[in-house]
Amino acid sequence: MAEPMKIRATLKGDLCDVRVLMVHPMETGLRKDTNGAVVPAHFIQEMTVKVNGRTVIEGQISQAVSRNPVFSFRLNGVKAGDKLEIAWLDNKGERSQTETAIA
């Protein structure tokens, strides 16, 4: 299991700013190491954001996203205590899921 994400969800009225940090190398598959060998691609491909079990955002990303990706999203119609779940899946089939309560 990959490292858990860091999620910060800040509620302003019924709007919520969500910031998520994922720990991932996001290797492009184009980079060479110091010996000149190509470092194989290893990057997150899919992610989902769920509120109380309902998917609100589905993302597909490429190796162009920076190492240790940081995303910001905006949710509406949420309230304190709602359950926020974020999950990702990478090209090697590794996945990670973190949940938090909106505060």
Partner: protein, 151 residues
């Protein structure tokens, strides 16, 4: 043992169906669009996303630095003010694989995303917002001093 007793075969089939059924929910998400993400040109990527044509729109807003000193981490903030925006795609035209990200938004999420991306060399970035079966686009040039790809 008699060759393949029918009852056993039936239960095997049932078990196989059950396993398939269990595996399905894991793959219920919109699968990674391999064709679009592996496209080597922006035009091919857009074609794979089903974008036949798009209209320039001031309602699609891209916030990004004009000059990025470090191409490995370029913050890009995208907002679509087009009503009923369903999805947003980000294309970095000069990157080896131009399509960088695509987000689908359901009710409960604003069509907004901020993400850090790698920009290999100075390039136009293009954002396409989909609403009501149409595509609206905006683009912005980012000049890169040190590239974000390669070693």
């Amino acid at each position: 043992m008699s060759s393949m007793n029918p009852l056993r075969r039936l239960s095997l089939q049932a078990a196989a169906a059950l396993v398939a059924g269990l595996a399905l929910p894991l793959r219920a998400l919109a699968a990674w669009n391999k064709e679009a993400f592996q496209a080597k040109s922006a035009a091919d990527a857009l074609k794979s996303l089903g974008v036949a044509s798009s209209a320039e729109s001031k309602d699609v807003v891209i916030e990004a630095p004009q000059i990025a000193e470090n191409g490995a981490v370029v913050p890009i903030e995208i907002t679509s003010n087009v009503p009923n925006t369903k999805s947003i795609a980000l294309v970095i035209e000069k990157n080896p694989f131009p399509l960088a990200a695509k987000f689908d938004f359901a009710e409960g999420a604003a069509p907004y995303v901020k993400v850090n991306v790698k920009v290999g060399e100075s390039s136009f970035v293009r954002v396409l917002a989909e609403a009501g079966g149409k595509f609206y686009s905006a683009s912005k040039e980012i000049k890169v001093t040190i590239g974000g790809c390669g070693g």
